[in-house]
Amino acid sequence: MEGLFVILTPLIAFLIILAFGRKIGDLGSGILASVAAGLTTIFSLVVTLKAIHNPIHIKLYNFLPIDNYTLQIGFYFDSLSSIMTLVVTFVATLIFIYSIGYMKDEFGTWTFKFYAYLSLFLFAMLLIVLSDNLLGIFFGWEGVGLASYLLIGYYHKQKKATNASFEAFVMNRIGDWLFIFGIIYTFYLFGTLDIVDIFAKVESVDKYALGIATMLLFGGAVGKSGQFPLHTWLPNAMAGPTPVSALLHAATMVAAGVYMVARLYPVFEATPQTLKLIVVIGAVTMTMAALAGAVHSDIKKIIAFSTMSQLGYMFVALGVGDEGGAMFHLTTHAFFKALLFLSAGAVITAFHHHLYDIFKMGGLKKYMPVSYVAFMIGALSLAGVVPFSGFWSKDRIIASMYEWSGVLGVIGTIVAFITAYYSFREGFLVFHGQERWREHYGKEVKEVEGVMTVPMGLLGFVTVLSGIFGLWLEHWYVGVIGGEEKGIHLSVAVVSLGVAVLGIWLAYAVYVKEVIDYRKAYGALKAIHTTFKEQFFTEKLYHNILAGGYMQASRYSFKFIDRGIIDGFINALYKNFFSFVRFLWKNLDIKIIDLIIHESVLTAFRVGKISRQLQTGLLNHYILFLTIGVVVILGIMLYILDRL
């Protein structure tokens, strides 16, 4: 029963806030959402303890009969899904609490909507994680898309935000349609949508067709996880409130793609060609995103690019066959990424949403010590420095990459270096150095309040703790979800630790010691800088050429085809008909018939004088004509049919 509570609690919170939000008030709604999320966490802890060794399968009701198969709504708690649930709910709870503080400036402007959407978001994510059939996953998948659409566009007074949410939904829809097609394809291969049944039948289906199915399913993951080529929405989605970014990037939404592939891993494992595609997409994304992150200047976008890059790592790990590594990195990433976002959000709150550019900040560490420490813990973990949690998970993935191919491993190492560089570039520019913000922001800054620092502290604590016990944790985690056991590769570990330290040192030298003037360097490398920043101009391509072209095509096709050709034809017909009729009237009616009538009337008068008796009513004439007409038509029909 706890299993159902896990799913239903956020839904109930959502419905209550939606219906009574105005009465409860903004603060009350926030508290309600947080309490619901907390309860969900507790329920999921209970379920996890039960389900981790003996999977629990809940079946609810018959939903839809398709082709000899009846879809049942149901939920499946095994070690993978229940641990994921625990991570999602725990991180979400902390973010919900934090958001009460973050959204305080907005209170009084229907902020309860925000908490309603957050609860909906959590519910949809849990649906993805826990559904026992592909269609249920798809319901959650779309629900997440909808909730993120509403949340990203939450600051609807900003053009940027509304465009971003629009873009996010459109990109997601592309992925979603691929995903639904993948689901249908899978259904035709297996005759079932139940994931447990699908796993049982993987060996018995055509491998080629299965390859297509998994590629389509992966297409959905590409859209949801912001991988190349459906990636541009992810950095733009930063226009939403920071807790949303944290939620989006830590455990929900973007992680859903990785989770889905891991969930269906037995199917993906059977199709090596799809796994290769996953590796390529993941590697391209992680490199491109890391390069973009290294040159961007928006405090949140850098973190967004880092998410994209880390998701790339996870996909590569899935592709090279290290499912356990991917899921472990997903988990550690959820914590330190949430931490990074929350501390970035704290900085934004401190500036009351006036400053986003990291080059306009600096020297914040003495004003905001908690946020500083939190950020640094997150950054160290992201960079993969021992003994923080990111080190263990990332190192494992890089080792797996080396096992698969040397080139891939080298790419992984290089990206690790860039990662360390950009995360500390941001950290140093924001918290160290001169107080450049004084030129742009008139007031003093101070540390944010307790409702925001406590969640940060908790997340930081978990990140450090899981780092210290990282080796055991990895061992246990991978063992439980049934991944491959791996020892630590000392050489790989040393190399990646080395490049991480090197990256941090480089950032320190450039941005704190200023051994070179980075402003001038940007000027000199402008071309390459712009290329990286624009993610190799993919965004321009999508926005201006594809989307703009679509709108143009729409306008022209309306103008020419509908208005021009079809309506033109109709109108011309109409007009010509009238002129033709007028012509007939003038020539035939007036000149010929009227003349005849005139004459005949005159004649009739003459005759009429003679034969007044032959009068008939008008109605009778009509009936006569009608009868004659019907007879003639039916006669013609009969004649034609006789000829057939």
Binding site: L64, F169, R173, I184, Y188, I561, I570, L634
Partner: protein
């Protein structure tokens, strides 16, 4: 049951009787009489629902027959199988919604008597169309629905109402002449084969029509219904008619009058001419997909919100046609559920447009930017309807689109991919719609004083939103209506292997 209550004829008669009552009473009572009339009809239809035997949906139930013209075999035969019943419920529901909406509509102030009489008559005629099994009676009802709608558009419409009304009338009137010709030919053919005139659907089913002639008849019927549905390129009357009709008129037009076309395609085109349907199916599927894509394209650049919704209707109808002519169980299922779903969502979207007009007095998209976000309840309702129309799971249109892809996949992967691309395009405009109405920046401060949706309008909205969500979450209830009908159609008429 020994005694069968004549549900169908009663529900055709009630609106007519009440329209006489409207004539008798004063103008200020007109709306309440109309409300009572449509409400009573809805009640009758709900009672009919409980009496309907869902174990044999393919059998025509509540059957009544009255001879009109003995010599030509014209009989007023009324009845409902599962498909008719679903459309019948949709008709009574939407008519009630339209009347409720009109009571609260500020635009409707003049000539109330005629207005409500027009709606009552439309309801009565449309029920006739959906429940008759005699082709001549069908044709008569089908033509009669034109008249009240013509007046609704022409009298209570907006600026270009006369042009639109005539365009509507001429388009449909001319196209239905083809239908008349088709019906006459079919009946004459029956006379030649069997020696007696009949227009009865079931008797005409048993004909063995030579192939070429069958295709000819199919096309005659098809032209009429394609214009009504409408399918691109016969669609240009629709945006004009919708753009200028009063809100309730658009609601009825989109939700039930268009369904007459698609209903008739299933019932008559596929039912009477199965071989022709099978032969022509690939072309019709192509036409349907073309319809979806073209209409979706045109939709996104519309500047008038009602035209926008109208074009989106065309693209939805494209889905109905595409799915229908895949001629599989899943396809027909998708087609009918999409008809029902579109009936609800298009009604909802037109009410959204009308509601915004009543607040802002404009249909222009760019001046509506961000308008609805000051009305939270209204915004929620709009989002629910719009996303349901987009095919988000949990909304009504999802099952139509999903099952269309399933059905297309049975033919080929490529076709399914094309359908998916089309579905994507048809989702894009809804997002654009939502972005404009809901998310865009609105500077004018005065517009903060919007009154949220309330009263009759709220009631009308809820009567749409609740079924929309029901279809989304418990689709099997609605599939149960017509499962038997399409199974029968596929097994015995199309004779497809099962």
């Amino acid at each position: 049951m020994s005694f069968e209550f004549p549900f169908i004829s009663v529900s055709i008669a009630i609106p007519i009787v009440f329209s006489f009552l409207i004539l008798l009473f004063k103008e200020k009572f007109a709306k309440y009489i109309a409300l009572l009339g449509t409400g009573l009809t809805f009640l009758v239809s709900v009672i009919a629902l409980t009496w309907f035997d869902f174990s044999k949906t393919d059998v025509v139930q509540f059957y009544e027959e009255y001879t009109i013209l003995k010599e030509l075999g014209v009989k007023l035969s009324l009845g409902a199988d599962g498909l008719s019943l679903l459309m019948y419920i949709l008709t009574t529901l939407v008519s009630l919604v339209a009347v409720i909406w009109s009571i609260g509509d500020e635009k409707i102030k003049t000539r109330l008597k005629e207005y409500y009489i027009a709606f009552l008559l439309t309801e009565s005629f449309v029920i006739g169309v959906f429940t008759t099994f005699d082709l001549i009676v069908f044709y008569v009802f089908y033509e009669l629905t034109l008249l009240p709608m013509l007046f609704v558009i022409g009298i209570w419409g907006y600026k270009l109402r006369l042009y639109s009304a005539y365009k509507f009338f001429v388009y449909i009137f001319i196209s239905s002449l083809f239908l008349l010709l088709g019906i006459a030919s079919l009946s004459v053919f029956h006379f030649k084969e069997k020696g007696n005139f009949t227009f009865n659907y079931f008797e005409l089913l048993n004909l063995n029509i030579p192939n070429g002639f069958e295709i000819f008849l199919f096309l005659l019927f098809f032209i009429a219904f394609a214009v009504k549905t409408p399918i691109v390129p016969f669609h240009t009357w629709l945006p004009d008619a919708h753009g200028e009709a009063p809100t309730a008129g658009s609601v009825v037009l989109a939700a039930i009058l268009l369904k007459m076309g698609t209903y008739a395609l299933v019932r008559f085109n596929i039912g009477l001419f199965p071989e022709a349907a099978t032969t022509l199916a690939p072309y019709l599927v192509a036409l349907g997909i073309y319809s979806i894509i073209m209409a979706s394209w045109m939709t996104i650049s519309q500047t008038n919100i009602k035209r926008f919704v109208a074009y989106s209707s065309v693209s939805h109808m494209g889905f109905v046609v595409t799915a229908m002519f895949l001629l599989t169980m899943e396809g027909l299922r998708a087609s009918v559920i999409e008809m029902f779903a579109h009936g609800l969502t298009s009604a909802g979207l037109f009410m959204v447009a009308g509601f915004v007009y009543n607040r802002l007095h404009t249909f222009n998209f760019s001046s509506l930017r961000g308008a609805i976000k000051f009305m939270p309840l209204f915004a929620t309702i709009t989002a629910a309807i719009a996303f349901a129309a987009m095919g988000l799971p949990g909304g009504s249109s999802f099952w139509g689109k999903f099952l269309t892809v399933v059905a297309a996949r049975e033919y080929s992967t490529a076709l399914a991919l094309v359908v998916i691309v089309a579905a994507f395009f048809s989702g894009a405009y809804v997002l654009y719609f939502m972005k404009t109405l809901y998310l865009d920046v609105r500077e004018e401060g005065i517009l903060m004083h919007f009154r949220d949706v309330n009263g009759y309008a709220l009631m009308a909205f809820l009567m749409i939103v609740i079924p929309v969500i029901l279809v989304g979450f418990v689709p099997f209830i609605f599939f149960a209506f017509y499962e038997g009908v399409i199974e029968h159609l596929l097994k015995y008429i199309l004779k497809l292997p099962f």
